[in-house]
Amino acid sequence: MGYLGSAFVDFPAARVTASVETRSTDFDETSFTASGAELGLTGISSASGVATCSVDSLGYGLGLSVVRPTFSFYASGTKFDYSSYDCTATVTSTTSGSTTSPVSPGGRAPIHVTLPAAVTQLASNVTTRFGGYSSTRVPREGALLDSSVMVGASFALTARNTLGVELYHDSEEFAQSDTTTALAYLAFPLTRSVSMNVTAGASESDVLKNTVFAGVKLTGRSLAERGCGARHGARLFLATFSQPRTEWYV
């Protein structure tokens, strides 16, 4: 679950947007094997069991947009700080030297682990399996990112048709994977109140195959309040700041 606060300020030439987000991420229970030292267990070489982990993070975002009658430019970046790590580990077997002994039920209380490196190790079965899925198959907000940056520009081909290009770069926190995504989109009206946005692009990831994607979005707008487009557009910028690309490309 994440809670987001955002603000924008308009300057004569540009709009600056800022956001702060707190996020709490819970991982499903997963099996682990870790050294006794990592778990704070003396006299034990390694221990195996199951762990339930969580991590809290803060995200700081900054965006800039410049909108002119025939073109626009926009860029944004978000940096995530993982400040709180927590695991509850239940040990089911231990190894002392070369001897492995099962832990009898009720024989050892769950261990509370808060060291980032130890939590990362305990949760690795969950976190590493998502490596490379950021932005291509999982929304950015669903991935544990270290940072995310994007730049984009759009151009008015005609009075109602727009061509845009965008570039994204996401770095993941736990999987040590980077993903770069480039896309282009064409927006045009279908009817007086419905517009279509067609997108095509490609993603390159460190750990997954390169991906080519295409999408289409239909947007319907109320005609009852025509004339407030600039304000509405501004609010959409605020709303979509730091959102997955498919929300808008769409």
Binding site: L4, R137, T219, R221, R231, L236, V250
Partner: protein, 92 residues
Amino acid sequence: MPVAASAAEQGSSSGSAFFTGIEIDDQESHRIDLGMALESSRGTGFDLLGSRSAAGAASLDVSSTYAFGQLTQDFGRFGLGAGVRHVRDEIS
């Protein structure tokens, strides 16, 4: 952001917008989005967005459900917003 930054859409939008979209890729993944953005004449806005994506990789199935809601207030030269989002990722 392109929705807002689109020069062609400046001056043609209104107090409410509803959208839906789908994305597919060459790795047997797809994503469906649905959302709306409402704004009162006094600059108060409400956004509700959701998506569902699924990827059927050879060795791993991944699905993700995303929801986002936000209240905003446009004061003219500046604006404020507060939102909440929830994401559930599943792997099998």
